[in-house]
């Protein structure tokens, strides 16, 4: 099914290319493009003005920015800011932590919204579906401070629900929040809990474009639910899954400050200190825009590299973003 789709796509692209090569095709293509260009013009202006123009501000990564001289006038310092950042013995560990936490968030967290959407899709009572869907998306609106409080209610040693249960069953407790591996698990899991219902919305929208008659036909052929999901639902979701994955991977260096700051504690700081929390604690964040920009540029470059790689892979199966 999926491969057929790709084949069709390739064929139509080939035909398109053939058409554009002839003179007639060129005129026709121009005529077809004219209204599109007009449509796109305000968008182009928007992106140039609001996205590309401010990018010149990246020069302060190579300057010693101060308010008095402004972006242009501040003195150049070359790679001093980077030298300074990478000379700090903490920096490498912090970058590693940032990558690990966000990679886990992306890779482990990724399937959950898909699974949730599929499960919801299989619900036949519409009132149940509506309620479940609405409840599942609510955590998205809770501040991390609140979620942090809930995590404590569950996992603290003396009063946490899980430990109270553990003590009743086994007679001993476990310091979940103070062991690195269990902390990371809680970190990733709380992120999943907070966002899965929200992220599932996009897949629910994608599910609407799958032809219901496919399921009927499969049902006639005696395919069980499991087979139907594997052979109809998942392939139908694949373009959206790939799109989401590429978009998520671009933000891999961007671990939310609040989540880490609220959940971390001194014992797990070796795995829990990330770029943004470190900046906040050491005080680079406030006045020192040059360092922040230098770090930001570095994060962006990593993001770009990853997106180019992933998109390259996706292109091989005809599903790249560009």
């Amino acid at each position: 099914m999926g491969s057929l789709d790709i084949q069709a796509k390739k064929n139509s692209e080939k035909a398109e290319r053939l058409r554009t090569n002839s003179a007639l095709g060129k005129r026709r293509r121009w005529n077809m493009n004219k209204p599109l260009l007009i449509m796109f013009l305000p968008i182009a202006i928007f992106f140039i003005l609001f996205k590309y123009v401010p990018m010149f501000g990246f020069v302060i990564a190579f300057k010693d920015y101060n308010f008095a001289d402004g972006i242009l006038g501040s003195p150049w310092v070359g790679f001093e800011n980077y030298k300074y950042l990478f000379q700090n013995p903490d920096t490498l560990g912090i970058i590693r932590n940032t990558l690990v936490l966000s990679a886990l968030t992306v890779f482990v967290g990724f399937p959950f919204p898909v699974i949730l959407a599929i499960l919801l899709n299989e619900v036949r009572r519409s009132w149940f579906k509506r309620w479940a869907q609405t409840l599942l998306y609510l955590p998205h609106f809770l501040n991390w401070v609140i979620v942090g409080g809930l995590v404590l209610m569950l996992f603290s040693i003396e009063t946490g629900f899980v430990n109270t249960m553990l003590e009743r069953l086994t007679g001993s407790t476990y310091p979940f929040l103070f062991k690195e591996s269990s902390w990371i698990t809680i970190f990733v899991a709380s992120g999943i809990w907070k966002t899965a219902g929200w992220s599932a919305i996009i897949y629910l929208a994608a599910l609407t474009s799958i032809d219901p008659s496919l399921y009927e036909a499969a049902g006639m052929d005696g395919a069980g639910k499991w087979k139907q999901i594997l052979h109809i639902t998942l392939p139908g979701l694949m373009p959206t899954i790939i799109l989401m994955f590429i978009l998520n991977i671009g933000n891999v260096m961007d671990v939310g400050f609040d989540q880490v700051y609220v959940l971390q504690n001194p014992v797990v700081v070796n795995v829990a200190e990330v770029i943004s929390t470190w900046n906040f604690k050491v005080g680079l964040g406030s006045g020192q825009f040059s360092y922040a920009t230098a770090m930001g540029l570095f994060e962006s470059l990593i993001g770009l590299t990853l997106v180019l790689v992933v998109n390259g892979i996706a292109r091989r199966s005809g599903r790249g973003l560009w």
């Binding site: 449509m39 501000g57 619900v123 609140i146 008659s213």
Partner: protein, 291 residues
């Protein structure tokens, strides 16, 4: 059709998982609701779990009497409705051309747009730009710089790409222009994704906090999110601030009022989503092709 026993097991497991997951999301909200309706002493002593103790409406009446919550709510609605309207119009205008295979420089433009998602300039350049365009101090600063979100744009584009070309070709033969194709074919067939993206934009506007603080100077124009987040956030950063500014410590909003704020903030979202869900109709696209 009769359900086989395998299907029965499948549905049973499915409901079981969903009920568990939904409960895990419901209980915290119930807890917050209970906090907002409880006396402060009971909260301090940790007595409140899922049912209010020393039941009282004080937190809500205080929110309404002492804070500008009504005005803030109105501001939130204005920011969200106008903002989402603008977002939708321009995102559709951007997504449609990019979804057309014959569009010039399609690949280049897509890459150029993804690039802006990865390389976002810092606060200062954005602020200076907004200032030079006269946006500081008005809601323009909240609407224009985020007019088109790359993320939503790409989602919309990928759904537009899925619309069978035969439909459009047929319309073109009938003499329809691109605008009519958008209005009469593309948009009606994309209602689920349009609803999704409108929800994404709307929620982002509803929650917008930092930009409001930075760009809007007049406290009368602050939104609900600023009002509520100020109460919650001040708590998490308080230990950092407390040494300098003990006053901040003394003036922390009590937990019941903070919880009431959260409930007021969430309630509209609880109402909006089920409303949008009715646009998630299955098989719309397919039906139109066959018909």
């Amino acid at each position: 059709m009769k359900s086989t026993s395998g299907e029965k097991v499948f549905y049973g497991v499915n409901y079981f998982i969903l009920v568990l997951a939904a409960l895990s999301c419901l209980l915290p909200i119930v807890h917050i609701l209970a906090l907002s309706l409880s006396g402060n002493e009971a909260i301090t002593l940790g007595k409140v779990s899922l049912w209010p103790q020393d039941f009282t409406w004080t937190a809500y009446s205080k929110l309404i009497e002492d804070t500008n919550i009504v005005g803030a709510f109105r501001n939130s609605v204005v920011i969200t409705l106008v903002g989402t309207g603008l977002n939708m119009a321009f995102t559709i205008l951007a997504a449609y051309p990019l979804s057309r295979k014959h569009f010039y420089a399609r690949r280049f433009l897509t890459l150029a747009i993804v690039f802006t998602m990865l390389f976002t300039a810092g606060l200062i350049p954005n602020y200076l730009l907004a200032k030079s365009l006269g946006l500081v101090g008005n809601y323009g600063a909240l609407w224009l710089p985020g007019l088109v979100s790359v993320y939503n744009l790409l989602v919309l584009r990928s759904f537009f790409e899925n619309i069978p070309e035969e439909l459009e070709d047929a319309a073109r033969i009938d003499g329809s222009g691109e605008w009519r194709i958008i209005l009469q074919i593309v948009l009606p067939l994309s209602i689920p994704v349009i609803a999704t993206i409108a929800l994404f934009y709307g929620v982002a506007h509803w929650n917008s906090f930092f930009n409001v603080l930075i760009y809007i100077n007049d406290p009368e124009r602050f939104n609900l999110s600023v009002l509520v987040q100020n109460m919650i956030q001040s708590q998490s950063l308080m230990s950092e601030l407390a040494m300098l500014d003990p006053d901040a410590f003394r003036k922390l909003a009590p937990e019941s009022i903070r919880s009431a704020g959260i409930i007021v903030m969430i309630l509209p979202m609880l109402l909006v989503y089920p409303f949008l869900q009715k646009y998630f109709v299955k098989g719309m696209l397919i039906g139109s092709v066959k018909g």
